[in-house]
């Protein structure tokens, strides 16, 4: 029988074994992450049909919840673990040709653990276990942001470290207060015992937990670390941080709000916060001259959009939010990866230095353009389908407020389009008209990025392909009673 625990244990074991492998041969270590995430991808795909039939509860050590730790492998968990494994697999292929300098062995260990932490966060059914995996996710990102060892990297890593640690402390404090009152750490058991969030003794831990998780999720105004951290990390890591890490943070926030605290009255606040995050992210992105900072701010905008969709608190809205997460992971991953080689060849992160690079690196530029089109939301790419679903979800609620907010969001999309087209313009239509010698990214990186493109187009053309899992995922968040029952029996 395939056990979902292997999704966490196998990458973890490989990370532990990597120093020994490094002593045997320095050449094969870079293939270990590829292997690990290929395994995870296959296992996740195998588990999807089973999970859609029935949620799998994995009792670790054989103890019944709430006395032991359990994994809750529901549609949401398996959706995320597939996404993490997919992005992890493709980015590790890309890194085969991208990571050439520095302590490579440590890069691969940290990379494995970063994604193991992310997988753990989305699969666990225990509050303290969530904190532990969250720490694994965060600490490996701190180290990876500083991987290049330049001044900007270390500075932003320290900024990220300080803010992240404050967030983790708040999270731990919140969990502690909750444990003191309820005497349990199991998420389903906590959810079962929480009657109302109106009493201050429940409200305070909730605020602590949401704030602590919100720092990693980059919700405005807790996102000051993000532009620096995402822009000074190696591009392969930026792709993971933008595509996976913040989304996992957001997952944790909404899991806490929906399942544990049942705080649907709180969601109106999140609708506005989402729109605000979107506008601020997009407007800041518009004024950037550094390409990676621009992409990082664009991620903040996208997170705002996802928050808005999920906070609608309807079946369609939550599905649309998850859909937007998928298309953001694919789109932003592709953008960061292609930009990685554009920067590598031009030697500069300035948008102005990309003039005319469309002739020098036509394929990489094309891949960048497709990623940009998908993020902006042009058909037939995945971004169009997901944004369209969000608009549909907002309009079907029938409330005037959401219709107005959709207008604001479309304005944000227009800004998004403006800055992406500015970059595309300077790639293709500026600079010299002379024929320049071609100088492409390595083949292996191009293959990895092309798979991103294929997925973006495939999901964009056949959004129904993932409709079922999105629907089940949305139901998991809406029916919290089912969640509690399936764990506690």
């Amino acid at each position: 029988m395939v056990n979902p625990i292997l999704l966490i244990v196998v990458p973890l074991g490989l990370a532990f074994a990597l120093p020994i492998v490094n002593l045997i041969s320095k050449k094969i270590i870079k293939y270990i992450p590829v292997l690990a995430f290929l395994f995870n991808l296959i296992l996740s795909l195998l588990l999807i049909p089973k999970v859609l039939e029935q949620t799998i509860i994995v009792k670790i050590g054989g103890f019944h919840p709430p006395f032991g730790i359990n994994l809750f492998v529901g549609p949401v968990g398996i959706l995320f673990s597939t996404l993490i494994a997919l992005a992890g697999f493709l980015v590790s292929i890309y890194a085969l040709s991208y990571i050439k300098e520095g302590p490579k062995e440590k890069y691969h260990i940290l990379y494995l653990l970063l994604l193991t932490g992310a997988t753990g966060v989305v699969l666990t059914g225990d509050m303290f276990n969530l904190f532990v995996f969250f720490e694994i996710l965060c600490i490996s990102s701190y180290a990876l942001v500083a991987y290049l060892g330049n001044k900007a990297g270390i500075e932003s890593s320290i900024k990220y470290l300080i803010q992240g640690s404050v967030g983790s402390s708040l999270l731990l404090l919140g969990i502690g207060l909750l444990y003191g009152q309820l005497g349990t750490l199991n998420m389903a058991d906590i959810a079962n015992q929480i009657n109302s969030i109106s009493s201050p003794s429940i409200f305070v831990p909730m605020i602590f937990i949401i704030t602590g998780l919100g720092i990693e999720a980059a919700i405005f105004p807790l996102n000051a670390w993000l532009p620096d951290a995402h822009s000074s990390a190696p591009s392969s890591i930026s792709a993971i941080l933008s595509g996976i890490a913040i989304e996992v943070g957001l997952y944790a926030v909404i899991r806490v709000i929906f399942t544990i605290f049942n705080a649907s009255s709180f969601l109106m606040f999140f609708v506005f916060l989402g729109v605000l995050t979107l506008l601020i992210g997009e407007m800041s992105a518009f004024s950037q001259k550094n390409i990676k900072r621009m992409l990082a701010y664009s991620s903040i905008g996208q997170i705002g959009l996802i928050m808005f969709a999920i906070s609608l608190n309807t079946q369609l809205g939550i599905s649309a939010g998850f859909f937007q997460m998928i298309s953001h992971t694919l789109g932003k991953g592709l953008l960061f990866l292609s930009v990685g080689f554009l920067i590598y060849k031009t030697g500069s992160m300035k948008i102005s230095s990309f003039e005319g690079i469309g002739k020098k690196m036509p394929i990489t530029s094309l891949l960048f353009t497709i990623g940009a089109f998908s993020i902006v939301g042009l058909p037939p790419f995945a971004g169009f389908a997901s944004k369209f679903m969000i608009i549909k979800a907002a309009l079907t609620t029938g409330q005037l407020l959401f219709t107005v907010l959709i207008g604001v969001i479309l304005l944000g999309t227009v800004i998004e389009g403006a800055y992406f087209f500015k970059v595309i313009q300077s790639i293709y239509f500026k600079g010299t008209t002379d024929i320049i010698k071609r100088d492409e990214a390595p083949l292996i990186a191009l293959i990895s990025m092309s798979i991103f493109v294929l997925l973006i187009i495939f999901i964009g053309v056949y959004p129904d392909f993932i409709a079922r899992i999105l629907n089940s995922a949305a139901s998991e968040f809406i029916n919290r009673i089912d969640y509690i029952r399936s764990v506690l029996g």
């Binding site: 056990n3 532990f16 020994i20 009792k59 050590g61 520095g102 302590p103 753990g120 720490e135 003794s201």
Partner: protein, 227 residues
């Protein structure tokens, strides 16, 4: 102005915590999970030390995560320090005879004490983390006392990796052979209160002891060399 705002924020946070703490009776054993551990811990896990039975059996998965966090911290520190340029050879001033002799004399004793702490983790207070920290302190003493000596980095790395793998492999054996649960206690529990009891707990605690010891030693080594 900034300071005033920070103070006000801090005050609000404190107020919130105070409100919460009022609802939690101090010292009263009302937590249901805690009661369960106290009542059933000995029979279910075979460990006399209830804390150990919680840390390694009921919540063993958390401990695996915590070991990983320490591993991560050591690797992350190594990665960041590796990028810094070496400042040339460090001037080593030899330690005095008293310090040197004392360090030579104490080193094996500290190692022995650390080993005792983690081998008896299921019987007496302490365990892998504490024992590992004590062992690392022995190596710190060597760095301070016998300054020309250096640990064998390769051996340290191998110890660290193998110890981590032992933890995971024990968990996986539990998954495949005994009981179909990851980290299940598949070995015979033995007679309570004896050294060879409580199944996989001592084995995992010894692995943790080695792992924590070698990780902390690695951190000390890294910092000593780059400082």
């Amino acid at each position: 102005m900034k300071k005033i705002i920070s103070l006000i924020l801090l005050f609000i946070i404190c107020l919130g915590i105070v409100f919460c703490l009022q609802d939690i009776p101090f010292g009263a054993a009302k937590t249901k999970v805690g009661h369960y551990y106290i009542d059933n811990g000995r029979e279910e896990t075979g460990a006399t030390n209830i804390v150990t039975s919680v840390v390694l059996n009921y919540r063993g998965f958390d401990t695996l995560g915590e070991v990983t966090i320490l591993f991560l911290a050591a690797i992350g520190l190594g990665a960041v320090l590796a990028t810094l340029k070496k400042k040339g050879k460090r001037q080593i001033e030899p330690a005095s005879l008293i310090l040197k002799t004392g360090c030579r004399f104490l080193f094996p004793l500290i190692l022995l004490f650390g080993a005792y702490i983690f081998i008896h983790g299921h019987l007496t207070p302490g365990g892998g983390f504490q024992g590992g920290a004590i062992i690392a302190s022995a190596f710190l003493l060597v760095y301070l006392g016998c300054r020309e000596r250096k640990i064998n980095e390769v051996a340290n790395k191998i110890t660290e990796s193998i110890a981590g793998l032992v933890f995971i492999v024990m968990g996986l054996i539990g998954l495949t052979v005994g009981g179909h649960y990851f980290l299940s206690n598949f070995m015979p529990k033995g007679e309570i209160n004896t050294l060879f009891s409580s199944g996989i707990i001592p084995i995992i605690y010894i692995a943790i002891g080695f792992k924590v010891g070698s990780e902390l030693t690695g951190i000390i080594d890294n910092l000593m060399e780059k400082s």
